[in-house]
């Protein structure tokens, strides 16, 4: 698969903002998660120059979709005890890193870091995922997160809260209610 093919897949999978809101609140996991997982895995399979081409061509709306996916994968990975889902969530952050404001990305990394801690690998999950970065700046984004003080890595420090729902872990931002389907 080429970078152009991956970008076409991104256009097909990452739709408008209204659809993203529905995706955010969909059951964990959902068929859309599977579609985006295939997209992220295709990105990961590309060599670094192609990954950079893909990451640089995404729109702001598309990188927001990837952030939503990453957030969902943090929860799915814990519920299913799946390091692969966590890895794909981290890859989505890296895929989005060239367009995303690093401050926004840092918020999402706190959620993934919480999942990494619950799953067990902790820092090692971030270190392993860094190879999926499109360039050195993006790699530094993920590895740099590990150098934060412990209190500054928490989801609470970034404005999130964690709950235990009937289906498992739930992490939501601010005062938002957790989607009923979660």
């Amino acid at each position: 698969m080429s970078a152009d093919t991956v970008l076409k897949s991104a256009q097909a999978a990452l739709l408008d903002d209204a659809a993203q809101l529905a995706y955010y609140g969909a059951p964990l996991p959902s068929p859309k998660d599977g579609e985006i997982t295939r997209l992220v895995e295709a990105y990961r399979a590309e060599p670094p120059p192609e990954r950079l081409k893909i990451a640089s061509a995404l729109t702001e709306s598309q990188v927001n979709w990837l952030a939503t996916y990453a957030h969902r994968m943090a929860m799915v990975s814990v519920r299913q005890q799946s390091p692969d889902m966590l890895r794909n969530g981290l890859a989505a952050v890296l895929m989005a890193a060239k367009v995303t404001d690093g401050r926004d990305a840092t918020m999402t990394l706190s959620v993934l870091y919480r999942a990494a801690g619950l799953l067990g690998p902790g820092d090692a999950a971030f270190q392993a995922a860094a190879v999926d970065a499109p360039d050195a700046d993006a790699e530094r984004l993920v590895l740099g997160f590990l150098t934060r003080a412990d209190a500054a890595k928490t989801i609470e420090s970034m404005g999130y809260r964690e709950e235990t729902g009937t289906r498992g872990i739930v992490i939501v931002y601010g005062r938002q209610a957790a989607p009923a389907a979660w």
């Binding site: 955010y24 957030h71 969902r72 404001d101 690093g102 401050r103 926004d104 984004l141």
Partner: protein
Amino acid sequence: MDALAAAPANPRNSALAKDVFDSAERAIAAPGAAAAITTYGSVDASSIPGVVASFGGPLGQPGAIPPQFAGREVTTVGRLPQTGPAGDAGERILRVPDNSWSPDLNALWMQDAANRGDVIKLATGVSNDASSLAGSPARGGVSVFTRELAVLQAAGYTRVGDYLVPPR
């Protein structure tokens, strides 16, 4: 990403980081700190139309800094990929080491600029279609840039050209 401070330590980055931390200390000691943190954290997608109404429009609009604000400190805000080059060119921006940024620090830095009556220079347009303002629903539906603008909106700022000016 355009890192918060992508380059290794250098005098420019160190000076900008010290400025940010000093700003936060001033803000904590002044009225409005708690309110700014609350405003910053509670912004969501429903806030976007109001932010667009206050500050909307692309960059490149006519209008200079009004004379009554001449000599004020000018602070540049926007999305990091746009503020980074402005900071490198000498403008006052938020730039701290990656591992030091936090939402509270960001809110306090913005509130300090409002407390001082800084003129704000936009490095990122405030798109009427909200593309520069919207964020992942998992992050409250807005970008960090929107949160900064919300703090300025609460402080009574208005847009003049590519600047946001304080109420007095």
